[in-house]
Symmetry: C2
Subunit: 344 residues, 2 copies
């Protein structure tokens, strides 16, 4: 089998035989094979057993025919080594028992040695590179500094980021000190993944859409830029995904990365114009549209491909993680439609 390098070529804005496609959270609960493993282990155990994480990572490669694998892991894995007391509470999502709210709390955050803190991540990547050698590239990933900061400050998911924003506004020194540490942690965590074999890395700024452009520029952008700059010489494409960030796209692009990921709230042609054609773009199918009939999925794929207009550098993806109730055959129909409709 020949190695499928469409994804890597598109990251570098080189011509491809068909538009590459993968799905955020493609290894997940919508697949029966995943649920079967999940029935045996709790979530963190699945992440921490390299053979299990590798097996889950491979499931959608077999089932969907996607053009890239993304390591099965969670953006909160580095927290344990940082001294953050994290629990995945049943039905509630992550809960942090010692949220960071003051300069003293920030001082207690440990800047991890990524090999020591998350050795199982490196191990899973090594296993996967062997398994994937003649198939598709492997993507590593991390949360972005803001998204990690919002978790450690809020102590859980949030709708309004009341504590994270309050720290920005009331205690900017503590905020900047925390973000400096997080930028270094994210850098180390991603460099470790690249050293272990990740052939591209994605930085997820999942919650940055809560900010207005001025706050993003002052409180977040310098640290996202620092991570991207730190990885510039690592020789692998850097994907920078900012969710719900249509008004921040120019700034996200300026912060850096070879590929900018977008959600579905903006049309791809407008987004690419604002990001700049010197970057590749990833997205932007509404994950909930996978609940629609196959004909409507195909029509939406066509619309997005039309907006990409055959410009080199489009990686097809969802605009957010796949929903856990998505019919697998609809996910497969999406992948097939992208390949069929973009075939040169």
């Amino acid at each position: 089998m020949a190695f499928n390098d469409r994804f890597l070529r598109a990251c570098r804005r080189e011509p491809v035989d068909a538009t590459p496609v993968w799905l955020m959270r493609q290894a997940g609960r919508y697949m029966k094979e995943y649920r079967d493993i999940r029935a045996k282990y709790d979530f963190l155990t699945m992440c921490k057993k390299p053979e299990v994480a590798a097996e889950i990572t491979l499931q959608p490669i077999d089932a969907l025919d996607v053009d890239a694998a993304i390591l099965f892991a969670d953006i909160l894995l580095p927290f344990e080594g940082m001294g953050i007391d994290l629990e995945f509470a049943k039905g509630e999502g992550p809960v942090i028992h010692n949220p960071v709210r003051s300069m003293a709390d920030v001082a207690n955050v440990r800047v991890i040695d990524a090999e020591e803190a998350t050795p199982y991540v490196a191990e899973a990547i090594k296993i996967l590179r062997r398994e994937l050698e003649n198939r598709v590239p492997l993507i590593g990933f991390s949360g972005a500094p803001f998204t990690l900061a919002s978790y450690v400050i809020e102590g859980s998911g949030s709708r309004d980021y009341r504590y994270a924003k309050a720290m920005m506004y009331e205690a900017p020194q503590a905020w900047h000190a925390l973000m400096e540490k997080l930028a270094e942690i994210v850098t180390r965590y991603l460099k470790m993944q690249i050293a272990a074999g990740a052939q591209a890395v994605q930085m997820f700024d999942s919650w940055v859409g809560a900010l207005n452009p001025n706050d993003y520029r002052e409180f977040v952008m310098p640290y996202s830029k620092l991570v991207m700059d730190n990885l510039a010489d690592e020789g692998v494409p850097r994907i920078h995904f900012a969710n719900n960030a249509s008004t921040l796209l120019e700034l996200v692009s300026e912060a850096g990365g070879d590929v900018v990921g977008i959600d579905w709230r903006i049309n791809l042609d407008e987004a690419w114009r604002r990001i700049g054609y010197d970057k590749a773009i990833q997205g932007n199918f509404d994950p909930i549209a996978l609940f629609g009939p196959v004909e409507s999925i195909e029509a939406r794929v066509k619309d997005i491909l039309d907006r990409a207009d055959d410009r080199p550098g489009h990686i097809f993806n969802l605009g957010h993680g796949i929903h856990k109730e998505t019919p697998v055959e609809h996910a497969k129909a999406l992948v097939d439609a992208v390949h069929k409709l973009s075939k040169k």
Copy 2:
């Protein structure tokens, strides 16, 4: 005391002596006076007793010196008459026990007679017009068809609108039938409020930010436009607020209204350019920035006023409802800063 008509003048894009300001959810839990009443009644009872709703409506007028009153009510009040079995569950927000998921369910939705279904709303408005005669104008409001549809279909708050979108994509006939009924219900509900004395009306499309522009145009915009068109000859300003809708602003403006309300995710100057200068604009202070110190509140007010650039037709407001833990003195500082910094 002379009647303060700054708000109404700004809605009509007429010159004003200072920029008018009010705060979405200004009658709410951040005020001790509100919590004292809340301790005596459950939420729905507060809405349904006209004297109580009127008293709560007046609290921020006295405490904050805002330039408009907005009726204390909830966007879900019309549901009872529609046959929607709604409960405000403790700590969970609204729960609907008979969500609308099929054409048969849609057929069962009753198009209310607003006077019969919500007589207490009309009564509260009449009381308030007497109380407010020499003070400030009174705003009535409703949820927009999409936001009401998302509640009745999802059956509760939602992060992804999985059922609402699935109805759009899988059962478009049921979707359009429901939206047609909701547009008529919203029209009747707002006309009733205007007849009772509301001097302006706001339509809240709180959840429309979940949609991409193509879906907004096809599945939502015609019904928002219908409501706005139906109210065009009522002689009061129509405010059309779409939350988290930075990429939809051109379409929201096209759908209609005299004033377009925006959140904080976009800078006001860019938003107004996209909305068009033939509309007034309302917004766009981040409600969470009220947790910052007074100096930072003033600096943010100045930035927004600078972006409005003395163009007639700016109503200062938050970009979303005020947070329940906001310090009252910070809300007052915001109002004072708007008046002081915009004084002619």
